[in-house]
């Protein structure tokens, strides 16, 4: 699928800050199932955009914009060609051995409820892939998608107690449960092309990747209850939301920040495959 992405993050301030500093993880990289045809980031303020790799091999950009700034727009646009590899992610940049992704973080710490939930699936542990698939289905039934009760700092345990959450929460719970079962798992942020024709979205997507010994890293989208397909565009990987977040930043001065996100994802053009 050739996906066209246009993503605006707009900040408006009632009292303009004197400067804003941000780290962007908004640039996808190629792997065997995805090829970036074109990609650009443009910032509405005059600033230098420095590119570098982070520890996980994600391409990050940092900038400092000097104010006063009453509006800041981070615009990302590009085209990516994706292939359906049944969720298997091969040929991506791997800086660490998979076992690193067994490490717990505050956002993905288990509690008694998650332990109890994940233990239900340990019995099928002989085959990691089957176990993860059953858990994916279970999780998808257990938690209802709801944008209201949770926020970016909600932990896996809190979301699991609420039985409600967004893609970020479902992903955290999945990662937390998988790690409890001894399967390395990591957080992926990216984009998702919806097949129901809704192209305008208010947020990016997130899913998990788990390490299956015979296959390597495999993408599990707990929100949709499926393995990743050619509708998933993989952007950044990390231990949890915080280390893979699309935008992180700070501002000095200013008040009354109003954030809005517009994402448009559509199929760029139809091409028949030979």
């Amino acid at each position: 699928m050739r996906m066209h992405v246009s993503h605006d993050t707009v900040y408006r301030y009632e009292t303009p800050p004197s400067s804003v500093i941000q780290t962007l993880r908004l640039t996808p990289r190629n792997h065997s199932g995805q090829y970036v045809v074109s990609w650009l980031i443009s910032i509405s303020a005059d600033c230098r955009l420095d590119a570098q790799d982070d520890a996980f091999g994600n391409l990050i950009h940092t900038f400092t914009a000097e104010g006063p700034i009453d509006e800041l727009i981070v615009h990302v646009e590009g085209e990516v060609e994706t292939e359906d590899n049944a969720g298997v992610v091969a040929g991506a940049i791997e800086r660490f051995p998979p076992a690193l992704f067994l490490r717990d973080t505050p956002l993905t710490q288990t509690d008694a409820a998650i332990v109890e939930f994940s233990e239900r699936y340990r019995s099928s542990g002989a085959n990691t892939l089957v176990m993860l698939h059953e858990m994916l289905g279970g999780l998808n039934r257990e938690i209802v998608f709801d944008t209201n009760p949770t926020h970016t700092a909600t932990t896996a345990a809190e979301a699991f107690a609420l039985k409600r959450g967004v893609c970020q929460d479902l992903t955290h719970v999945f990662i937390s449960a998988a790690r409890h079962l001894g399967v390395p798992a990591r957080y992926i942020s990216g984009y998702f092309h919806r097949s129901d024709g809704v192209n305008d979205q208010e947020a990016g997507h997130a899913w998990a990747e788990a390490f299956v010994p015979s296959l390597g890293w495999v993408g599990f989208d707990a929100t949709n209850g499926i393995c990743t397909t050619d509708a998933h565009l993989r952007v950044a990987a990390g231990l949890d939301y915080l280390s893979a977040a699309p935008v992180r930043g700070a501002r000095s001065g200013g008040a009354g920040e109003n954030l809005s996100v517009r994402i448009q994802i559509d199929q760029a053009m139809q091409q028949s495959q030979e």
Partner: protein
């Protein structure tokens, strides 16, 4: 567009590029062979030139020894060697004539003029100086042809096929230089250095016009592993493997866009580019530079075959 036309354009560009490459390695060899023997040690530079050109077998069927005279004759002027500079220009001109209407006037003039002038050199130059001038002329002819294509050709499938020819051939050529000289590029610990090595590294860089770029990129003296890094992974370096694949993928993509369909050639080329982008030199050394290059040459050949299947046959 007829497959046959596309095929002619593709090979026209490949042969011109190959002629330039042969001139480049002959020039580098000439330079290395003129290093005093006590420094140069016992290596036979002329033999490695034949190996770099990829025609060792054919060469030793005809000649017993690789020296300046035989190698010069075989790689530059021999009508019996289908990959000599002379043969390359002749085949290129034949291809060009078959698709005369698909070329611009400037391109035709460039290739036809080259072919006419080639006759002036007869069976070879009479002196080293003249041979150096000849090698310069070969490179300038390729430059003229490539520049004419770049400046005058309509950006359509005809143009993209010539670009594919250029970059597949170039990728193969750079990989061959690396393949023959890879043992000189291994990291320090595994490598026994000698005074010859500096000349060798500089010669590798010179053979792809990268010596100045090297100093711009790394700002330090010539180190073998950095030479490998520059020629394999640096996308901003023309003639590096990564740069060739950036161009191959871009041109295949444009073709796919205009034809409205894509196939294995696009997918495979993207795969090779992705691998180059996601690799780091220390990992390549760990897994074996030689194996990496061998694999690359095989992939490059496979993509050439698939392009032929998909578009040219």
């Amino acid at each position: 567009m007829l497959s046959r036309t596309a095929d002619n354009l593709y090979w026209l560009a490949r042969y011109v590029e190959r002629a330039e490459y042969l001139a480049r390695i002959l020039e580098a060899t000439q330079r290395l062979a003129s290093v005093p023997i006590p420094i140069a040690g016992g290596t036979n530079e002329w033999e490695s030139a034949v190996a770099t050109a990829g025609c060792e077998n054919a060469f030793f069927e005809v000649y017993e020894e690789a020296n300046e005279e035989t190698v010069t004759e075989f790689l530059a002027f021999s009508p019996d060697n289908p990959s000599s500079i002379r043969s390359c220009f002749e085949v290129a001109r034949t291809n060009a004539r078959a698709v005369r209407t698909a070329l611009t006037v400037e391109m035709w003039d460039a290739i036809n003029g080259t072919w006419l002038e080639l006759k002036r050199y007869g069976n070879g130059p009479t002196s080293r100086e003249e041979f150096s001038r000849f090698l310069r002329w070969v490179q300038e002819s390729s430059l003229l042809f490539d520049g004419s294509a770049y400046r005058t050709m309509l950006r359509s499938d005809s143009y993209w096929f010539t670009r594919l020819g250029v970059f597949l051939e170039r990728a193969d050529n750079t990989a061959r230089i690396l393949d023959v000289k890879y043992h000189l590029l291994l990291p320090e610990a595994e490598h026994v250095g000698g005074p010859l090595d500096y000349f060798q590294w500089a010669a590798i860089l010179r053979s792809v016009s990268a010596l100045t770029s090297y100093h711009w990129v790394y700002r330090e003296s010539v180190k073998p592993w950095l030479v490998a890094d520059l020629l394999i992974l640096k996308e901003e370096m023309p003639r590096s493997l990564a740069n060739c694949y950036e161009n191959i993928v871009t041109n295949l993509d444009k073709m796919a866009g205009s034809y409205g369909r894509q196939g294995p050639a696009q997918r495979l080329a993207r795969g090779v580019r992705t691998r180059l982008q996601n690799s780091r030199m220390d990992e390549i050394f760990q897994r074996g530079l030689h194996e990496f290059i061998q694999e690359f040459i095989a992939d490059n050949n496979r993509i050439g075959g698939i392009i032929t299947q998909q578009y040219l046959a």
